[in-house]
């Protein structure tokens, strides 16, 4: 089967996407879930041993607390309460922690330390799967068994104020609620005032049982200016006042005879040294947990807080309120909370918790009998029974209390063991799906590599021997073997397996495809073999220039660097480094060209027939002439281009610090956003917008030019409306709006420009004259490109607009003076574009950490959250760098008329190959490192980024193929 390079590349990428999806399905563990009825019921309580199964045997334990107030402060770090910051800024809380009747702990949040998974963890007690982070973008109602549902169905009245994630997660469960959206990160006072303003009224009332307050301001301050900013102190004092107010009100409500109240102060996750969160560094996972209630013993002084898991709060709260523990909770009781109870009650509570954990263990682990905790729990329950029997008989001796303490200890150990066994379950992988995905993706990579000589040949056509392999015997044998293997694995597999749960038709298609690939691979490999033996000289006279060597070393080196967690965290350094070296290598090439020309001007004349063909390309080909300069100055411009690029890159590098190790260093972006420098930011943004207009408008039609200008004006007024920048006539204190109107105004122009571009592209197909059609086509492409630029300009934060301007500037000068002049072939140009795209991905502030994805982009121009556009906009703005460079490559290659014949095919093939090599290597690597310490914090986010990047590349290749088809469709 003969395929053109671009189609071949596209098909390979599509197969890769499918296999990566399969791999991801197997890699990200399905959360531990119980298979029994949806929610635990009060009747599910186990009977107290030895008291018979009578009506009061399995009755619910009595609640310990009358009312519970949960104050959840987003991104509250452990040292904000227990450290020196706490002493300075939270005097009241510190006093209660040190002298009051309270218990304080350091609660470890599991990564991903992102708000929604943390809320889920706190309410369900389970540890949400990693994939929940992706779902953080939209939070559908939580259907799992959870504390809020349990409280609601037990008739507790719940009031909630704060982050509206809760309202989306628990619709209709709150008696009263007021959600604030957290997406306008620049606001840190309004979000909290919105919570506090209800406080006085609510505290006076008596008609509620549970009050939940989720304060967002601290998190927003962290995102804006980090954990050491001057804004943190006042915010913590504000929070301290809130605690004081609530505590005072709870104490005043306290009366003899009724149950005590409980005040819980906790954080959902911490804050890294840069102020973001999502990863697993110590400051991100350590959150304070302070439980304050008059029923606790008074503290004599500050004690080192104990360490526990965040999920331990859930069963504690549930039993403290006399509710069933949620089904999938993996935490265990905090013993300190119940230490004032009688021994019998304590044992009873531990038994209930143990029963729930053991049932979860039975459900989720087929080999639960072998778990230590399970066995221990059975033992403890037995001794509990005999203890109760003695107790009921009226025995009150020392022996009994000692025995009871022993049972208590046994229970606690059993709970801990079961809890950790359940947490460990999350590390189980669906190896079958992973291996299948991996084999598939490896096959695709080998196919791509084997096809390289054909794909990069002048014809740019790959011959895949699919038809012949479909008729060969090995193909059928492989199919048979695959099916047999599938049946064997599925019948013997112990754990859950995604592939086995698929319908067999689908699985059989996969096996067929895989076998066909295998056969095609072999026959292609065989076809390669003799040719390399026959003409060994061909390899030796193909010499590598320094640039080729660099491109090769860079690609291989970057791929290998992915094996190290530090290099993943600091991947931007790799790309900046490579890009710099590339610019220097290009500079050397330029020097060589112009200085050699000087020396051998007469030799140059011999190459005459080559030069005119490229010089004839019309006025646009001679940039110096176009800019009205003499050819002499062209040389200096060409020499200056790599230097300009280097300078731009150096400046951009200090605009957004990213990564992990040096991310806390002050960068220019923070300085611009800090509020005092708004005027400067406005000037910078407007200069960038003007520059963007000047650079993009060159090849557009008049209508698009006007639309572009108006659109860029709209971008500025959108930023002004949102409050990022100022108009000259405007004072800094102006009401901040969502800027929906302005953003929609820009969207109209984006769509208009895109429409003009597509129209031109379509018209170019029906044109008769090849020259006209070519001109129209490249104009159409450029218009599509400028539409994308306008959209990106709208989505980028104001301080990132210089990044976009620099991107366009580098593209323009590099195209004019380097790529056109130095006769780099399509493959070299593509690799350079790819490197630039990668570097710009990091220049715009991204990293390999989920935390740096700017989700607020999904709300530009929308009144409320709408899933599809929000995801599209977020993906677009995150991958703006690689996307813009890919678009530019497309425009550039198709404007090069002398090589457009195969340029697009070569470009598309190289793009696919460049994406496949790291992706495939990484998939294999992650499989090998699946028990690495950093697998969840470093390697998994990167895997998601790789998958997403492959998806984006596939989209780009689709466009490439489309443009390439137009070429081949023409005679």
């Amino acid at each position: 089967m003969k395929l053109s390079s671009s189609v071949f590349a596209l098909l390979c990428l599509l197969c890769e996407i499918v296999s990566i999806a399969l791999f991801l399905r197997g890699f990200f563990p399905v959360p531990v879930k119980s298979s029994f009825s949806d929610k635990n019921k009060v009747t599910d309580f186990p009977a107290e041993p030895q008291t018979g199964s009578g009506p009061n045997g399995s009755k619910a334990p009595v609640p310990l607390f009358k009312r519970v107030v949960i104050v959840l402060i987003d991104a509250l770090r452990e040292d904000f309460v227990f450290g020196s910051d706490g002493r300075r800024f939270m005097p009241y809380t510190r006093h209660v922690v040190e002298r009051g009747s309270s218990h304080s702990f350091i609660a470890k949040a599991r990564p991903p330390t992102v708000t929604m998974p943390r809320i889920k963890a706190l309410t369900t007690g389970s540890i949400p799967g990693f994939i929940d982070v992706v779902m953080n973008l939209n939070s559908p109602a939580l259907l799992e068994d959870n504390l809020i549902w349990q409280a609601n169905s037990a008739g507790k009245r719940i009031i909630f104020y704060g982050d509206d994630t809760w309202v989306r997660l628990f619709p209709k469960l709150f008696m009263e609620h007021d959600g604030t959206t957290s997406f306008f990160v620049s606001d840190y006072t309004e979000v909290d005032n919105n919570v506090t303003r209800h406080l006085d009224g609510t505290l006076k009332r008596d008609d509620w049982d549970i009050l939940i307050l989720h304060y967002l301001g601290l998190d927003h301050i962290g995102h804006i200016s980090g954990p050491h900013s001057s804004l943190i102190g006042p915010k913590l004092m504000e929070m301290d006042d809130v605690i004081k107010k609530i505590h005072a009100s709870l104490i005043s409500k306290e009366s003899e005879g009724t149950l005590p109240n409980l005040l819980v102060l906790c954080g959902d996750h911490g804050m890294s040294e840069t102020g973001s969160h999502g990863g697993s560094s110590e400051p991100e996972i350590n959150t304070p947990l302070v439980l304050i209630s008059p029923s606790f013993r008074r503290k004599a002084g500050f004690e080192e807080p104990g360490v526990l898991e965040q999920v331990d709060l859930t069963p504690t709260l549930a039993l403290g309120l006399g509710l069933p523990i949620s089904k999938n909770s993996v935490g265990h009781l905090i013993p300190a909370v119940f230490e004032e109870l009688s021994l019998r009650e304590q044992l009873r509570l531990l038994q209930i918790n143990g029963h729930q954990l053991s049932r979860l263990l039975q459900d989720s682990n087929p080999t639960f009998h072998k778990e230590d905790g399970y066995e221990q729990f059975r033992m403890a329950e037995k001794s509990h029974g005999s203890w109760v029997k003695l107790y009921v008989d009226g025995n009150t001796s020392e022996v009994l209390s000692n025995m009871g303490k022993k049972v208590l200890k046994q229970y606690l150990e059993a709970l801990k063991a079961m809890s950790s066994a359940l947490s460990k379950q999350l590390g189980k992988y669906d190896m079958y799906s992973m291996i299948m995905g991996m084999t598939f993706i490896l096959q695709v990579l080998f196919l791509l590599l084997l096809a390289m000589p054909e794909a990069l040949s002048r014809e740019a056509v790959v011959d895949v021997p699919l038809a012949s392999s479909l008729l060969s015997l090995p193909f059928y044998l492989l199919c048979l073997f695959g099916s047999a293997l599938h049946v064997l694995v599925c019948t013997s597999a112990g754990g859950p397996c995604y592939l086995c749960s698929l319908p067999w038709v689908l699985v059989f298609t996969v096996i067929l495809l895989s076998s066909a690939f295998m056969c095609a691979l072999f026959s292609m490999a065989v076809r390669r073999m003799p040719t390399s033996n026959k003409t060994p000289t061909k390899g030796s006279d193909w010499t590598l220039s320094e640039l080729d060597a660099l491109l090769l070393i860079g690609t291989v080196g970057h791929t290998l660097s992915l094996a190290s967690s530090s290099f993943i965290e600091e991947e931007h350094q790799t790309w900046y480094f490579l890009l710099n070296t590339l610019c220097l290598a290009v500079f050397q090439d330029v020097c060589r060209k112009y200085f050699r020309e000087q020396r051998h001007r007469d030799e140059e004349e011999d190459e005459g027939p080559l030069l005119p063909s490229s010089a004839k390309e019309g006025p646009s080909f001679s940039p110096a002439e176009e800019l009205g300069m003499s050819p002499g100055s062209e040389k200096w411009l060409a020499l200056a281009t790599p230097l300009l690029t280097l300078t731009c890159c150096r400046l951009l590098r200090s605009l957004n610090q990213t990564g992990v190790q040096w991310a806390h260093l002050p960068d220019f972006g923070h300085w611009l956003n800090s509020g005092d420098h708004k005027a400067f930011l406005s000037v910078l943004a407007s200069v960038s917008l003007v520059l963007i207009f000047l650079l993009v408008q060159r090849h557009c039609s008049l209508v698009s030019k006007i639309a572009l200008a108006l659109g860029l004006l709209g971008v500025y007024s959108y930023r002004a409306a949102v409050g990022n920048v100022l108009f000259p006539w405007q004072h800094s204190s102006r009401a901040v709006s969502k800027g929906t109107v302005e953003a929609r105004f820009v969207y109209v122009f984006v769509l208009g420009i895109l429409f003009t571009g597509v129209k031109d592209l379509l018209r170019s197909q029906v044109m008769s004259s090849a020259v006209d059609s070519g001109r129209l086509k490249s104009r159409g492409l450029w218009e599509v490109y400028s539409g994308v630029v306008l959209l990106v300009a709208l989505l980028f934060r104001a301080h990132n607009l210089p990044t976009l301007a620099c991107c366009l500037l580098i593209q323009t000068v590099m195209a004019q003076f380097i790529w056109k002049k130095l006769h780099y072939d399509a493959a070299q140009t593509t690799i350079m574009h790819y490197w630039f795209g990668q570097a710009f991905f990091y220049f715009q502030g991204n990293s390999n950490n989920i935390g740096t994805v700017d989700i607020s982009v999904g709300f530009v121009g929308l009144e409320s959250y709408v899933e599809a556009p929000a995801i599209f906009l977020t993906a677009l703005s995150t991958y703006a760098g690689p996307l813009l460079w890919a678009c530019h490559l497309l425009c550039f290659l198709s404007s090069q008329r002398d090589r457009a014949v195969m340029g697009l095919g070569h470009g598309s093939y190289c793009f696919a190959l460049l994406r496949s090599i790291p992706a495939v290597f990484y998939v294999v690597l992650v499989t090998g490192l699946r028990y690495h310490l950093f697998i969840w914090s470093v390697f998994s986010p990167k895997l998601l980024y790789e998958a997403m990047h492959t998806l984006i590349t596939t989209a780009v290749c689709l466009f490439f193929t489309f443009m390439d088809q137009e070429r081949s469709a023409r005679p």
Binding site: F567, Q573, T574, L584, F595, R650, Q661
Partner: protein, 219 residues
């Protein structure tokens, strides 16, 4: 003829290499607490200084430098002044390149500049010794197939190796191992010197290996 030249080069290189070792070992006698990591700047300048002295001495004794046409004092002074200027310019050039590669601009500027000085001693100084302050000759040597003598080839090899060594030396910096040699610019200087030593060793070997293919055009 060939063997004599190669042998001369090998011994010259051996002297330079041993001077680097001496510069590492000797100061420990005079300076207290001397160590490569701890007092890195002292070590760096010791090495740079010894390389400068030994290079100038060796090449002056060997008489490799191009014969001067005029022998007047003013002409010699002019050449000396030019050489110093070129050396300074090359320091600035390397400093700029290192900053472009991402070294902090103001913070630890002294360290960055020291690295630039070291790189200049390992590359530019040898050019000055062998070719003199003659930019045209430099361009000739460093363009493709521009070598006209074994010394030119050796210059190409050592210069390339030093720069590549410094380039490779930057790689361990992002690793989170917290080792003393990951501090800026220690790994780069170590890389540069290792590269230089490799170049010194590799140049005679390579020339000896390829002596059949090497046919230098006569000037």
């Amino acid at each position: 003829m060939w063997d004599v030249e190669i042998r001369g080069m090998a011994s010259a290189h051996a002297i330079i290499a041993s001077s680097i070792f001496m510069a590492t070992v000797m100061p420990a006698v005079f300076v207290e607490n001397f160590s490569v990591y701890g007092t890195h700047m002292v070590w760096l300048y010791c090495v740079a200084g010894s390389v400068v002295v030994v290079n100038i001495a060796v090449f002056w004794l060997l008489g490799i430098s191009p014969p001067t046409k005029k022998n007047t004092l003013s002409y010699k002074l002019n050449r000396l002044f030019k050489s110093c200027l070129y050396f300074l310019l090359s320091c600035l050039f390397f400093h700029t390149v290192v900053v472009l590669y991402g070294a902090p601009l103001l913070e630890s500027a002294l360290e960055t500049f020291s690295l630039a000085v070291l790189l200049s001693t390992l590359t530019t100084l040898r050019c000055l010794c062998i070719l003199g302050p003659n930019v045209q000759a430099w361009i000739r040597v460093f363009s493709r197939d521009g070598a006209m003598s074994v010394w030119d080839t050796s210059l190409q090899i050592t210069t390339g190796c030093s720069v590549i060594g410094a380039w490779l030396g930057a790689f361990p910096i992002p690793l989170d191992w917290d080792r003393p040699w990951q501090v800026w610019p220690i790994s780069c200087t170590l890389g540069a010197i290792t590269g230089f030593l490799t170049g010194l060793l590799a140049a005679p070997v390579w020339i000896h290996w390829h002596r059949k293919q090497l046919t230098y055009k006569l000037k």
